[in-house]
Symmetry: C2
Subunit: 211 residues, 2 copies
């Protein structure tokens, strides 16, 4: 068993620490955030930090790194009020990852990958046609994390598009049927297989499978 203490974490090379800390907290989601500027330049960026905030109203959050450099995703949803969240599946890993390359502000990541803009129901931000599960979100608020200047962005989910056969009778979405991807750290892409669904747990009763 390897043990890293605080002092060792402080003193290790910065890239080693970044990989270690990003990956040791477990699998994360892989989503492409789609936005468009007032001038009409689209942007696409991969995020692994989307979290559930609440279901009534439906809200999600994600972490944005400090605004010390210009973040097109941020400036776009601040201008328009809207962004899309497009789930990464097995077929689009490489293109999704490529959206993290540093292109100039007037270059759309859509033009540098095989991913295609899709506009649905007059929503004010582009979806990714190749994503199986797509969410249309309205920007609600942001919270600055004073410890390092990151922002927690809160959005309300206003539209959900997904294949009907993924949705169970109780609303649960079987992501492995969509070949959705889970990420490890900054650059690892893994394909999960469902093992089990477990019933709501009750004290002093054995937990049952729902499958």
């Amino acid at each position: 068993m390897k043990h890293f203490r605080q002092k060792e974490l402080e003193q290790m090379p910065s890239r080693f620490r970044a990989h270690l800390i990003n990956s040791c907290t477990g699998y994360k989601s892989a989503n492409l955030l789609g936005t468009i500027s007032k001038k009409g330049v689209t942007n696409l960026a991969v995020f692994n930090s989307v979290v559930h905030i609440g279901s009534n109203p439906p809200m999600l959050g994600f972490i944005l790194r400090p605004l010390t450099v210009k973040r097109n995703t941020y400036s776009n949803f601040k201008e328009t009020g809207y962004f899309t969240v497009n789930q990464v599946n097995k077929e689009i890993i490489t293109d999704a990852h490529h959206t993290a390359a540093k292109y100039e502000e007037d270059v759309s990541e859509f033009s540098k990958t095989n991913l295609t803009e899709s506009y649905l129901d007059d929503f004010a931000a582009p979806y990714v046609a190749q994503s199986t599960i797509k969410l249309g979100c309205r920007y609600l608020n942001e919270y600055e994390i004073k410890e390092n200047g990151c922002l927690l962005i809160i959005g309300q989910i206003e539209h959900i598009y997904l294949p009907e056969d993924l949705i169970h009778a109780d609303g649960w979405v079987q992501l492995d049927k969509a070949e959705s991807i889970a990420t490890i750290g900054l650059d690892g892409y893994a394909l999960p297989t469902l093992l089990d669904r477990l019933a709501y747990p009750k004290p002093n009763e054995a937990t049952k499978s729902l499958l």
Copy 2:
């Protein structure tokens, strides 16, 4: 393709919406948070909302539901200043899920599962012996999400324990070797298999595999 609009999301049955919204944003991590009260009662609770906040200093965050009912995890790390984050693997899914059952405050979830308390290097909170990857964290701060009363808790990672053979030369941790679990929504547990690791992407260059 099924399309849920905002009005349909508002009007659907509450449990259906909870399952749908929790699962449609993608796979999440599965971690057991271990704490102990000043009186010495341990607590263990499963969380799927751990996110990366920063690597220098190493920080993670997680979302805690509103404090309208007593949350033992919260009161414990506020009392002691410390908590542990223990990754859920394939072998402990059922016990991890069972920690969400509503036990009285003086009952430790360790006593109601096969999970075992482990105290390492005099850290002030219990680890889970059966977890392959264990983090010791110090509570730093909390941010109230005004939209629904949830809290974003920020902790600094002070200790990391994990098997040495999971760690690549550049610090990246291969979670599938530990049989770490990814979750779908409130009750789905999936086992990921690594597909690829991709090099840092550069503009106008094809993205390369690191494997």
